[in-house]
């Protein structure tokens, strides 16, 4: 009996002791961009690589991509203390930590059978280990895409989110005076490179939209003063007419599987939402209200649609099932809302808001809660999501003076946090941008 009690006593005593470890909650951190050391990839003095400056170019593209995201900063290579070859094999981590690099990118280039072989490694300088590594083989002139792909891999490994650098932006290029504007369809890489015009400008084009599955766009153009919707395959250049849609003002948007398009059509003076199956071209009506319903956009799972309607007296954002049922207003704050677009991540809806004489680009949760206005300006609209749902692009116009001069429009990007607002450089004025998915 005594023995038993003697045995039990320490047990009861130690139930209290086991909670001895002290816990410290860290709920804030450093929001500065993560410093990365991005080295030039070494090679065995290959003349073609030297002539085409491929090492320098790859480093510049990767470094620019990551810096533009606002999440990373690239350390000046003058601070580097190891040769490119040595660091690729075994970095001296302590030295890299000294220059505050939290990550190190090294790589090797070679040309084999007229093809460029790119091998890269991403090192965590604090954990002292390789955390990502890959070999990519491509044609020599494709170094730019390879660079974007490497930047995407780094972004994904360090943020946990898919990158968005190997993507394209299609937009409406604008030239000429405001009353006689020439509008052409144009496409470029997300960093502004590889820019080209897709239409001649003879006919007015509006609101191009990317297919979320294929490298295909849909856009609205006026043929004999009638709105006509086109499908254009970017890779093959094949263009096809979807149909003439009198009373259409915005081009349709694709469903997440790319098989349907959803649009607003004005019939008998009343604008409602319709969906068209692209395989059989059957059109189905989704809304039937006396109000103006426009700007429909699918949720990424295809089960819901967000749209814009003035049925409540002012333009507001609504959500409904993809068959048109359960229509519900979600925007709750004051002001008028337009162009709702569902995030590819599914958690947010981006919109344009007009409130007290100013235009805002903002986001809200899919039930309308948590509205956040990211940017404010005299005139801006038409947000489009990056493929990872992290960044928005939109276009902004500057005010013309009394003489009608000074009007311009340009594409901007902004991070979901509301920081890192950047102008995307285009050769001419730009509006109505649409961002592609990652190029497959």
């Amino acid at each position: 009996m005594k023995r038993l009690l003697v045995c039990l006593f320490p047990l009861i005593l130690f139930t209290n002791i086991s909670f001895a470890i002290i816990e410290i909650d860290i709920t804030e951190g450093n929001r500065e961009p993560l410093p990365l050391a991005i080295s030039e990839f070494f090679h065995d003095n290959n003349q073609e690589i030297i002539d085409k400056k491929i090492t320098e170019n790859i480093r510049t593209v990767i470094s620019d991509d990551l810096e533009r995201s606002g999440l990373f900063s690239s350390i000046d290579d003058k601070a580097f203390i190891q040769t490119n070859r040595a660091m690729h094999l075994k970095p001296r981590f302590a030295d890299w930590r000294l220059i505050k690099a939290q990550g190190l990118l090294t790589g090797e280039l070679a040309i084999e059978d007229d093809r460029l072989r790119v091998e890269f490694r991403l090192w965590d300088t604090f954990a002292e280990k390789e955390i990502e590594g890959l070999v990519l083989i491509t044609t020599i002139d494709n170094w730019r895409r390879i660079s974007h792909m490497i930047a995407d891999k780094i972004y994904e490994r360090l943020t946990g989110e898919e990158g968005y650098f190997d993507t394209r932006i299609v937009y409406v290029a604008e030239e000429g005076p405001k009353n006689k504007r020439i509008k052409k369809l144009a496409i470029m890489d997300q960093d502004g490179a590889n820019h080209k015009f897709l239409t001649s400008g003879k006919e007015l084009v509006l609101t191009p939209r990317f297919n979320p599955v294929r490298q295909e766009i849909t856009y609205l153009s006026y043929f004999k003063n009638l709105p006509r919707v086109y499908l254009l395959n970017i890779q093959t250049g094949i263009q096809e007419v979807v149909g003439d849609f009198p009373g259409m003002t915005f081009a349709p948007r694709f469903s997440p599987d790319g098989g349907k398009i959803i649009m607003s059509l004005a019939r008998e003076g009343n604008s409602d939402l319709y969906v068209m199956d692209l395989t059989n071209r059957v059109v189905e009506r989704l809304t039937d209200s006396p109000a103006i319903d426009t700007s429909p956009s699918y949720s990424p799972d295809g089960k819901k649609i967000t749209f814009n309607s003035d049925r409540g007296g002012s333009q507001q954002i609504y959500v409904m099932d993809s068959n048109g049922r359960n229509q519900k207003r979600i925007s709750k704050e004051g002001g008028n809302y337009a162009t709702p677009v569902w995030s590819p991540r599914g958690d947010l809806i981006a919109f344009t808001k007009f409130y007290q004489g100013q235009y805002f680009i903002g986001v809200m949760r899919t039930d309308g809660s948590g509205e956040r206005l990211l940017t404010e300006n005299w005139y801006q609209e038409a947000p489009s999501w990056s493929s990872n749902g992290r960044v928005l692009i939109f276009y902004r116009e500057t005010k013309a003076n009394d003489a009608g001069d000074g009007h311009s429009s340009s594409i901007w990007s902004i991070d979901l946090t509301g920081f890192n607002e950047r102008k995307i450089i285009t050769p001419v004025d730009a509006s109505d941008p649409s961002w592609s998915k990652l190029i497959q």
Binding site: T15, I22, E23, I26, N30, L34, A127, I131, T159, G160
Partner: protein, 270 residues
């Protein structure tokens, strides 16, 4: 047979009774802990430790007054032992004085540096604050020893179960990791996005062995790439902060093992 059954039943009953009676006794200290007053968040160590030492040397009267108030507050848990220790402090020997002076210097050196915040919070009456904090500290730890003596851990090197970091020591450690942690802002909000890391430290504040992620299994699960990113960022922060500016070495037992909870949920919620 019957005897053994009766014996067994009564033994079980005794154990049960003993557990019921004894457990609340052990928890008694914590139960009597007063609720944390918000004002106490302000640099306890700077305000309590230093004034205590200076009061002791320069001005004994206010200390006595304080003590009276404290005694009033702590009446239910006062023990005779306390009076002895109080007397000791009131009438210290010259040896003690020298020793205390040394320790005081050491304490001042090791005090966490949070000077700008002290300035900010100067709008509070520091004397009142010190009083409040003294009371809090006394009642919280229910330690009959004099506060000054308690701070001088050198006098008592045996580890005690209820030893904790002061709030300012915690704050100082927290501030260091906040500086070192680059939050992966790209990850989406999720209620479970919190990474718990155990760290084991040497007396100089350096890592004794690699940090351990408590939920390490989750890191390698498919579909948990956001958690892995978060955990890796937290591990980088721990290594980047190595070595931390540690609290005083005499209190090593208190902080040699810590659990850091990296919790970005409020930030990610937006």
């Amino acid at each position: 047979m019957r005897i053994s059954v009766v014996g067994s039943v009564s033994l079980h009953f005794l154990i049960l009774l003993f557990t019921i009676v004894s457990l609340p006794l052990f928890n008694n200290d914590e139960l009597e802990m007063p609720p944390v007053i918000q004002v106490e968040l302000i640099e306890i160590a700077e305000k309590t430790n230093v004034p205590q030492i200076s009061k002791k040397k320069e001005d004994k009267k206010p200390e006595k007054e304080n003590k009276k108030e404290e005694q009033k507050l702590n009446q239910p848990i006062q023990k005779p032992k306390e009076e002895k220790s109080n007397e000791k402090v009131k009438d210290p020997s010259t040896e003690e004085k020298i020793e205390n002076k040394k320790i005081e210097e050491k304490m001042i050196q090791n005090m966490p540096v949070r000077k700008p915040e002290i300035k900010k919070k100067d709008k509070f009456d520091p004397l009142k604050l010190a009083e409040l904090i003294d009371k809090q500290k006394d009642t919280k730890q229910t330690n009959p020893e004099d506060i000054v003596e308690k701070d001088y851990e050198a006098l008592d090197s045996t580890p005690s179960l209820d030893k904790r970091l002061t709030l300012s020591e915690e704050d100082a450690i927290r501030a260091q990791f906040m500086q070192c942690w680059s939050i992966p802002l790209g990850i989406p909000y999720d209620e479970t996005m919190i990474v718990k890391i155990k760290i084991f430290l040497n007396t100089d504040g350096s890592l004794l062995k690699p940090p351990e992620v408590v939920q390490h299994e989750r890191m390698n699960k498919p579909g948990e790439k956001y958690f892995r990113t978060l955990a890796e960022s937290a591990l980088r922060a721990v290594r980047r902060c190595d070595p931390i500016k540690a609290p005083e070495a005499e209190r090593y037992d208190n902080w040699k093992n810590l659990q850091l909870n990296f919790d970005p949920r409020e930030i990610l919620r937006g």
